[in-house]
């Protein structure tokens, strides 16, 4: 076997050591750090991108929450405005109604006063007419006119009896 020709061993041993050590130095100092760097850069990029995506998602969530809250607020405000408007219009209607009623009541009261006044006037006239009638009837029956004082007394006693 040529492998056991020990004359070629020293050369192979020495060169194997020299070549392997040089290869080791080149790989460990220059090339392998480059490979590890590339792998780590990729891992960092992926985790960085994931982190960024997660951050953006959280941000979007916050914004969505804010939007939802705003919508809820707006709905609440709209409801309150509607309720207020309803109450205000109801109040206004009530006030107008009350004013109208007061006006009407005042007019009624005024009318009643007028009626009472005209009735009183009428009643006064009736008394005059009665007195005139009493005077005329007494004149016709007795031929003499009673005095105004007698007539007043008589009318007073009649109206008191009534």
């Amino acid at each position: 076997m040529p492998q056991f020709d020990f004359a070629v061993w020293p050369g192979q041993i020495v060169w194997a050591l020299i070549i392997f050590v040089s290869l080791y130095v080149v790989l460990s100092r220059v090339l392998l750090p480059r490979v590890r760097g590339a792998l780590e850069a990729r891992a960092a990029k992926i985790s960085g991108d994931m982190e960024e995506a997660r951050r953006l998602r959280a941000e979007a969530q916050v914004q969505a929450d804010a939007a939802a809250k705003e919508i809820a607020d707006a709905r609440l405000r709209a409801q309150r405005t509607a309720t207020e408007a309803k109450t205000r219009s109801a109040d206004e209607a009530k006030a107008r109604q009350a004013a109208l009623e007061a006006d009407l009541n005042a007019k009624i009261a005024e009318a009643e006063v007028k009626i009472r006044a005209s009735r009183d006037a009428a009643m006064t006239n009736v008394r005059g007419i009665a007195a005139d009638t009493v005077v005329a009837i007494s004149e016709k029956l007795t031929g003499e006119a009673p005095t105004a004082a007698d007539v007043e007394t008589a009318l007073a006693s009649v109206s008191a009896a009534n």
Binding site: Q3, W9, I13, W15, I19, L27, L32, L39
Partner: protein, 255 residues
């Protein structure tokens, strides 16, 4: 028939003699250098401008790196990072020599016991140095398995010492034997194709030689596929065992 061992002959290309030692540049040393250059060249080109989205070459480089990095991490643990370059250099160097050797022209340095023994002894030497550096004389606890009754220690300690001393031998012989065997078998089956084919040309009953040549050719194709796997696997096995031996001394306390 060609001599199957002829392919392993070492030829001197540039005679060199330093301090009485014959350190000539031979076909073996030339192909070692070419393998190392191919490996370093590949990584230089693949990672000239590394990008987040890798090119094909960069993907292959990252795959090989991760293979060894994960292997070292799973065996050695959190201290694997400082040993990974060594394990990767062994794996890459051996794998490149094995795989280049699968082609017709290149010489296969890993089929030389001198080369595999050098790498194995270097590995074990590093393991011993790391062992002493990490544990001081606690390194010798490696030979005293924990949890063994004291009565058994006189038996266990010599076994452990012998198994440690055998490590460089098995490491060197496994790689050497695999590469040697594969190349010899391929050479023999390849020469069968030629000799049986020539026999078939004689005509008559000898025409059956073509059949034999066809079978041999099929075997060569199948074996070639197998040998490619072996070439890669033996480099991986060497790397894995290096990790196991390093783990023994790096995590000595946890045994």
């Amino acid at each position: 028939m060609a001599e199957p061992m002829k392919q392993f002959e070492v030829h001197t290309i540039v005679p060199l003699n330093v301090a009485g030692l014959d350190v000539s540049i031979t076909n073996s040393t030339v192909w070692m250098a070419i393998s190392a250059t191919v490996l370093a060249g590949f990584f230089t080109l693949a990672f000239a401008r590394p990008s987040v989205v890798p090119s094909r070459a960069q993907s292959v480089g990252e795959l090989l790196f991760s293979l060894i990095d994960d292997l070292a991490h799973s065996i050695i643990g959190h201290e694997s990072k400082s040993f990974m370059p060594l394990v990767f250099s062994l794996f890459g160097f051996i794998a490149t020599m094995n795989l280049l050797g699968m082609f017709v022209v290149p010489f296969t340095p890993t089929s030389q016991l001198a080369v595999t023994a050098t790498l194995a002894l270097l590995t074990i030497a590093i393991v011993v140095v790391v062992g002493f550096w990490k544990n001081g004389f606690g390194f010798f606890k490696l030979f005293v398995p924990s949890g063994v009754p004291i009565a058994l220690l006189p038996l266990m300690v010599p076994i452990e010492i012998i198994s440690f001393l055998v490590r460089p031998l098995t490491l060197a012989l496994r790689l050497f034997g695999n590469m040697l065997g594969g190349h010899v078998v391929l050479n023999i089956f390849g020469s069968f194709v030629v000799s049986l084919g020539l026999l078939g040309l004689a005509g008559g009953v000898a025409t059956l030689g073509f059949l034999g040549a066809g079978v041999a050719l099929g075997s060569v194709v199948a074996l070639l596929a197998l040998e490619f796997i072996v070439a890669f696997l033996q480099a991986f096995v060497f790397a894995a065992l290096t990790c196991v031996y390093l783990n023994d001394v790096v995590n000595l306390h946890s045994h």
